[in-house]
Amino acid sequence: MNDERDEMIERAARVLRTPPQVRSGTVARVLMAVRARHARPASRWQRALWWVADTSISARGAAVLAAASLAIGFVARGTVATSEPIVVASGPSIELQPVADGDAAERPVPVALVFEQANARDVAVVGDFNGWDRAASPMVRAGTEGPWTATVLAKPGRHTYAFIVDGTTLVADPNAAKATSNDFRGDASVMIVRPD
């Protein structure tokens, strides 16, 4: 069989091969979904709070639950008052559902980074969260014109980072605060990562 490939089928396939637009923060959402599936509260009390938080609760109930959760060092999943969206540098915040467990303050959080430079051939993120390793967090983009995106894991706190364009040029994130350290001649940025 000749595989049915001819000019018309090839033209149709080209239409269907068009790369889709991927919304900013999508990969971070996937990672949070993976994490949410694996994170489970350990104790009986935590499991009870998890169950309560998972059901529909009133605003007053949410406040009480939030207070109770904080008292035992546990942030309940759901719409409690302590829930904060995770920062997406250079892009919109993502509404994420914090996951219940005890070491949120230390656990790395997925952070979506976006960089726009149409004529760049190759972009990577470097920062203190990946040891300034240019091979650790390459950025990708759909097609040849869209923004460059990458997701990194960073512990809650203050981080310095930059983009490396075409393997040689260090560029600060134009949409973030500049780092004050002289080490980077102002060519680095700062982001604050909140616990999930």
Binding site: R11, R17, P20, A33
Partner: protein, 180 residues
């Protein structure tokens, strides 16, 4: 764009979070394209792809390190798409081909009409034909890989792709001739 590092699936399987992130970033657009072509809905496609990567992460212990990653990933994705289609069939009324309004007008570019017609024909194909056509001609997987993924025999798959191509050719020839 950066080249794909073939060691990523194995590193991700062994628990390297950064490798898993790079894997998701690399494959997400391609998976979204396949899901969108299968499901015809951006929202459903995003749901299918997110579910797929959650399942990939869960199923990594069963991924053989000497196996190729693409067919394994697309097997999971195709299953998620089928599950979503089955769910949607229960919740939505089916739109017949003849009921879809043809939006061709002088304002549209000819290429845009043609592209829209491709999607319309694709949506009318039986699921097995659509899946086989997309995997073979859009995602460029071999018949052997598709057979391993779907459990269908090689001759059955070739027949599905042939029928999909016949349907596309018939309708697109009409469109092309009407454009002249």
């Amino acid at each position: 764009m950066n080249d794909f590092d073939p060691s990523l699936p194995i590193r991700a399987k062994r628990g390297d979070d950064q490798a898993f992130i790079q894997l998701v970033e690399h494959y997400y657009p391609r998976c979204l394209r396949f899901a969108r072509n299968m499901l015809g809905s951006e929202q459903d496609a995003e749901e299918a792809v997110q579910d797929t990567f959650v399942r990939v992460h869960d199923s990594f212990p069963r991924f053989r390190e000497d196996a190729r990653f693409d067919p394994w990933l697309f097997q999971i994705l195709a299953n998620r798409c089928r599950t979503l289609m089955a769910r949607n069939r229960r919740h939505r009324s089916v739109i017949e081909y003849g009921e879809i309004p043809l939006t061709a007008s002088a304002e549209h570019e000819i290429g845009a009409d043609w592209a829209e017609e491709v999607r319309v024909v694709l949506d009318t194909l039986p699921v097995e034909q659509r899946e086989a056509f997309l995997l073979r001609h859009v995602e460029d997987l071999s018949y052997e890989d598709i057979s391993a993924m779907t459990g269908a025999g090689l001759s059955a798959l070739r027949m599905r792709v042939k029928r999909a191509c016949d349907a596309l050719r018939t309708r697109l020839t009409e469109v092309t001739e009407s454009e002249r």
